[in-house]
Structures are given as C-alpha cells and as structure tokens.
Subunit: 475 residues, 2 copies
C-alpha cells in the first residue's frame, strides 16, 4: 500500500494538485529572488523531492526551490508565508522516517546548493558551514586539519539534515549525537525572520538552549541555513575488535560489561548471525555466522590501547566468545571493520526488488538483550536482520518485504509496532536516531504523555500558521 510505485497514480488521485498554494505570479516572484534555473515545477524534480529513503507514501511538492543564501531563504519564506504555503526543508533526502516528504504539498526548499564551508577555526576546534554541506565531504576537508565531526549517520546526509534530525551513528557512544556538537545556528523562522542562536563559546548558561530546541525539530520550527559545529581532534591511534558469541545474550552481556568498565569505546556495534550471513554472501567473506560485536577504541598511546585490548579480551572470554580478532592501527581497524560498513547494503541484496522497513528504537542498555531477543522472536517468520549501536542501547531491525503485498507488509508493520512498543515499555524511546518524521508520530503520545502538549505549545508559539514541515513529529 505504501510504495514508491504510487508515483504514477498520484495525480489521478488528486493528491498533488499543482496550484493548490502557488500561482504563476508566485513562481515569477520566486524566480526573481533566486533566478529562473533555481525554481522548478518539473515532474522529475518534484518526484525526486517527494520521498526519502523510506517506504513512506511519497507526496509531490508543487514547487522545488534551491536558495543559495540565508537572505534568499528569508525572502522566499516571507513571500510564500502570506499565502500559508507549506514549506518542507530538504537536506539530501536520506532520512528513514519520511521526515522530508512534503506531506502537505507546497514547497520543498532544497538546501543542497548552500554547500560552502564558511570558516574552519582550527584553534577553536570549530567550523561554520552552510546547511547543505555533505557530512562526508566536511570530514574529508577537516581531516587536513587533524579534526573531525564525529557522529557518523552512515548515509550521505547534509549537515543541515543531520542537525534537523539530530542524527547519530556508530561513533555516538563515545562522542555524542549531532546535538552535542551544535554551538550556533542561523535559522530562518516561519515568517521569514532570520535569527542567530548560540555563540562560538564552547560552553554557556545564557538563557534557554535554543540550539538544542531547533536541533532535532525536523524543520518544524524554521529552516536551518548555517551551522557552527564543535569539532574533535582526530584520534592519535585506533584499536579495533571483532568478536563472536554463541548466543545473543553472551554478546549483549559483553556490551554492558565493556560500557561500565571505565573503558570508553568509540564504537560498539552488534550484528546478528543473519546479518553476518548476508555479509558473507555479498562480500564472499567467511565470517563466523554468529552474534557478533564490532568495537573500536581511540587513544593517545599504543601502550595504553594494548592494555585496554587485553582487558576487552578478558571480558569477551568471560562471556565465552567463540572468536576474538583485534588490531591496533588504522589499517587493522579498517580490515576488521570492512564487513560492518556494508551490512545494510548486504542485507538489501538478500532480496532485490523488495523494500526495507528499518526499525529504530533505543532502550537503557540493561534492557538491550531482552529487546534484541524480543525482536528476534517478533520477526521470526519475516526476512529480518538485527543490528545496532549496542553501546547506546540502539537497535535496528531491517525487515525486507513488498509494500504491495498487503498481507506481508501488514505483518512487517505489526512487527515494527510491537518492537517499538516493547522499547517504550522498557522506558526507552521510539526513535534513537532516525527522528519522528511521519513513521513515529503515532508513538508520540505514548512516549511523551502530556509533555507532548508542551512541545505543541512551542510549535504553536513559533509557527502559529503551521507552515513549517506540516504533518511531521506531531500525531
């Protein structure tokens, strides 16, 4: 039912009537602001901006626009605000919960051409970027300065998208999520006013923490156009571990023993035996097909890392690991981790033609074992692959299926439902890192209770006309 193939029938169903909000005169005015070539009502651009990487129902915007500056963003918004045109900011479209789908049509504002690194302040360990800078490109440049921005979302996301979504990933367990790195933002508010929030100071107790409020607000409070990020020095040395266990329980018990040992892993990833099987197939590898942990440690001294490695091995042996491979150095780390980075691709290749539903939930680490075991059981009869950022209690279950096959897909959605509900029962959250978007809206009342009304009051106070990314976050 929810599939990209609905593209073709959209127009017929009257779901994307061109001109709902935007007239020809508007288009002409927008062209005056940004130039003709940066406003499009063409079908292909509208289709490209109708969906993210999830299975969620696409929706065509009326118009796509590519601003090049905060000033242009402000002018555009001021113009369309009079007519209450819905505006959905767009990063790279790599979200997984429908976050940038223009659910009410209107305008998609694609920030990918605002992709300049504005200033690298090496001495302050800070960088100023425009919102459209791509995460991986940024880190490539920062590497020349011995610096990096740690959250690693995996996808080819933009910094603006990562901030809007509070993205995180493999390295969050040591360094934090995107929100932990945002020092300053330039935001265009829903009526077009430009504000600057935060400062270049590494710490502050000056008033309400608006940076944290806008980070993770998924474009529902305004358009983020510029970002100042705190950076971290590239680690001097790397140590990596790949280890397998006979049971999920032994693997996940290892996770929280390492986490509470005083060690500070830079990555702590769990992959179940089915993911390993998929990787072996995809990459012609011969990894032991058992519950597996990938760990990474960053340190200053080789002797220090050697000592840590011995300690980690003791913990793994204590949990009866069936294999333990480790190495110090970036090359060794890359070899040991090679399999991990292709996990999602390997899983997708197990069933070409099918779509993945990716569950994302997070629980206190003491409940991680129970959640993984519950998820295993709940997806027993499905093509399900379990992995996740175990050190943060973050689980992902990728379930492959055909959204057209109503019976199968409803079983998949049912599995999603029960796993997320179990995470909430375990005092966790319905989304560890993918955001609420469209997919997690229905869980918001259960997770947040009456504090959801506080979020809504803030939304209404800052976006009274509800034009910013409507249909997201709130049920």
């Amino acid at each position: 039912m929810r599939s990209k193939c609905y593209f073709d029938t959209f127009e017929d169903k009257g779901e994307i009537m061109k001109g709902d909000f935007i007239s020809q005169a508007d288009i002409e005015h927008l062209q005056e602001i940004v130039g003709e070539e940066r406003v499009s009502q063409g079908t292909s651009q509208r289709e490209l901006h109708s969906h993210d990487e999830s299975f969620h129902l696409p929706r065509l915007p009326e118009v796509v626009i590519w601003p090049h500056s905060t000033e242009e963003v402000s002018k555009i918004i001021k113009w369309v605000h009079k007519k209450e045109v819905p505006i959905t900011p767009w990063g790279a479209g790599t979200s997984l919960e429908g976050n940038p789908i223009p659910a009410s049509g209107g305008m998609v504002m694609d920030l990918q051409e605002m992709n300049r690194i504005l200033e690298i302040r090496e001495e302050d360990l800070q960088v100023d970027v425009q919102a459209g800078v791509v995460y991986k490109e940024l880190n490539k440049t920062l590497g020349n300065y011995g610096l990096f921005f740690p959250p690693d979302p995996g996808a080819a996301a933009t910094i603006g998208g990562m901030v809007a979504n509070n993205a995180s990933g493999v390295r969050t367990v040591k360094y934090g999520a995107t929100k932990d790195f945002v020092l300053k933002l330039v935001v265009v508010l829903p009526a077009g006013e430009v504000i600057t929030i935060g400062s270049h100071s590494a710490k502050s107790s000056s008033g309400y923490d608006l940076c944290r409020l806008f980070t993770g607000s998924e474009g529902t409070l305004g358009v983020i156009t510029e970002v100042t990020l705190r950076l971290v020095g590239l680690p001097e040395r790397f140590m990596a571990v790949r280890t397998t266990f006979n049971t999920t329980h032994d693997a996940t018990a290892t996770v929280f023993q390492v986490m509470s040992s005083g060690l500070s892993p830079a990555a702590m990833e769990f992959l179940d035996e089915k993911v390993i099987e998929a990787i072996n197939h995809y990459k012609s590898m011969e990894l032991e097909e058992k519950p597996t942990l990938f760990m990474e440690f960053h340190g200053f001294s080789e002797a220090g890392l050697q000592e840590e490695m011995g300690f980690v091995e003791d913990i793994c042996q204590g949990n009866r690991c069936s294999s333990f491979a480790s190495g110090i150095g970036l090359d060794e780390r890359n070899t040991l981790w090679e399999a991990r980075y292709d996990a999602f691709e390997a899983v997708k290749r197990t069933a070409t033609g099918l779509s993945p539903l990716i569950i994302d939930a997070s629980v206190p680490i003491s409940r991680y074992t129970a959640l993984v075991e519950f998820a295993k059981e709940a997806t027993e009869k499905l093509r399900a692959y379990i992995f996740g950022h175990a050190g943060n209690g973050n689980i992902h279950v990728v379930i492959m299926g055909d959204p057209q096959d109503q019976k199968e897909w409803s079983q998949i959605e049912e599995a999603n439902e029960v796993i997320v509900l179990k995470a909430l029962e375990f005092e966790g959250t319905c989304t560890g890192e993918h955001g609420v978007g469209i997919g997690k809206r229905r869980f918001m009342p259960l997770e947040h209770g009456n504090s959801l009304a506080v979020m809504l009051k803030i939304k209404e106070a800052l976006d009274p006309k509800g034009t910013m990314n409507p249909g997201k976050v709130f049920p």
Copy 2:
C-alpha cells in the same frame, strides 16, 4: 548600593510587604498540604531565602515552603496559581547571579527536603534523584558503585539547582556541563500540571528536546522535582600536572595547544599570579607566584598516562614553563591540586569584610589569552583575581570590594561590564556557567539579538501568567 545590609531597611522601604499575594487563608491551606512545620513566614527563614551567594540586592519572600514530593509541589502550585503568586524554586542558594532571589516576593519553594536518591541503575549508568539531593552527597554514594556525575560546580549545590542553572565546573572540559547528563526530568508546570520529559534511553531523536529546554531555564518555566542523570564510570587512573609560566600568554598558549593535540584533559585550569599569592598566604605554601595551569587526565592504563604526560611536558617546555610538576595516582593528583580547591576561599580571605563580585564569561579558546589580558588591564586598580576553566574558554575574575562604597563598587561594576562586553565582542557568552539570574539580564539583548524574542515566546507560551521565578533571565 547592592548589599546584604539592606536587610534591615527592607521593610521600611515597603519592598517586602507581607500579604502582597498570600492571605492567612492561603497559609492555612498550604499548611494542610504540607503540614504546619513546612510553611514559614518567620523572619529568619525569609531572610535565609532572600539572597544567594552573590552581592545582588536581596528580597524577602512572603512565605517559604518545603514540599516533600512532586504531588505536594503540584498541589501547592495549583493553589497559589489562582492568585498569580510569584514562585521562586530554591536549591541550596549557592548561585552567583541572584538566580534564586525572589525578586517579586511571593513564595520561595525550597526543595532541599526532597533529597532522596530514588534509584541507582548501575548497569545503565543512570541514577534517579529528587531535586534536593546535594551534588557532593550524590557522588559520595555513587562512588560505592564506581560511578560519578562529573560536572563539579565547586559549591554545595543541589542537583535541581545544577539542572536549573546548567551548572558546570572543573571537569566540564572533558565530560560536559550538567545539560549533557540530563536524560529525564519530572517538572511541575506553572499551573501545577506534572509532566515527565525525556526517557531512560541514552539517546533519542524523539521530538523537541524538552530536557535541554528546561535545563538552564532557571526555574522560569516550572519546578524541576526529579532528575535522571547519565553517569560515568570512575576513571581507572589519574594523572595531574601543575605548571607555571613567566607570562599569561605562555600559559594560555599552552592551553589551546594541549586542547587541540588529541589529548582529552579532564581539567584544565588557569590561575593568575595574584591567586597563587593568595593561596600561598592562606595555606602557607610556597608555590611560584606566576601564571599557573592545573591539569588533570583520566585514563585506563598507567603506561598510556605516562606517554600522555611526556607529551604534555613537551608542550609546556615548548612554551617556556618555569616549573613543571606531575604525578600519576589519586594521591599525587590530590597533592598537586590541593591549592586549586582553596583558590576562592584564599581570595576571599585577602580582604575580610569585603564582598566578592565574580565575573563569569566564556569565549572561544583562541580568544582566551586576549580576554585574560584585557581583564588584567581592566582590573589593574582593583583587588582582582583571575582564574578559570581555561580549557573551555571560561574566565572568572573575582573582584573584592565594599558594595557600600559607591565609588569603588561602581568601578567594580564597570570592570564587570567591560569584561563581559569584550567576551561578547569575541563571540563568546555573558555567562559560561553561573546563569543569567538577575546579574546578566542586561546583556541578553546584545548576546542574543532577536533570538531573545524566541525565548520570550516560549516563556509566554509555557508561563503566560509569568509566575515562575519572575524577574530573571529576561531584561
């Protein structure tokens, strides 16, 4: 002009008319809620709750109340909300910017009797506490579990006060400020409704980050009654350094070389020669009276720390340090750091009978040297002592003076003004860790520009009657 000796003349000046808001019938109702002994209109209790540890003008509340539970807090607030009684939440009164002074009179709600540690979840590295638990007491208990809550505000603060203020301190440079540890809060809103925000998950991208909004909001949005904190394992090993330099410039240059070297100091403190002189006098020590750095490093392996120490020494020598003392182990660390912990007390003892004005500002670390040098010059003719959390760019200047001596005190306030303005010119913040309270309100427009209006919209949306800690944060 601003001094605690105004106590005596307050009543005469009509500034604290008993009964402005609260009638005898109200008192009786409040006594019904919490019991007679936990409601006071006595002068001594009202005086105790009329000022914090700053020089800011005290103001007597009409009534002080000590709730024991979230439910009581809710009942109290519901009762007094009808009459729009101002409510100022109270932690331990250790603030430094007048944050808990009941500036509009009304009720002070003292949370110190809500001081139970509710649950220590060792495996999850989390603790649930009532707001009145004292920071140091909490860490004493957590130590038995090998855990700790790192921000070290120095003062005998409560957890609720630390959260309301987003307190930080010596260890923030490695571990973060209070806001980086708050996972979940129970808050009583301005009309008495109880909400729970956040979850027990270590990470989340689920909706607006209300935890971060309430953290640092200084009681202006509600009363924080319970807090869930993320914890950190006690470090396996400690390494400490105390080193002196001939010039402030050499000392502060060392700071940012260490900070950007890939090392991760757990503390990085600067003290100027006058602070060292005060310490020598107070503690009969013979430290070299020169610009001094105190550093601390936490690690897992002794060999690793040895290597780091060598590297730190190289940096210090490269900046022509005139002395360098270091040691590994908790005892060595405590010996080397003994002087640092008494710095404030030592400074106060240089001028008994006088009051301290404590400047708190923070800048990007590349501007730290310039700010320290500017502060030195600006306070040349005053009894000023400069120190601070240099690794975060956070400066403190303690200036001793007599608030009754109008001429001197206005010079002191002038110095505060120009140093804070310089910090803002350097793209820093008017308060690194003490909060806005009363003292920093006037800098808010300059620091935040039109984003201050966004903060105000949030305040009005959540506290439309303006009863929560009025007169704070906003100018």
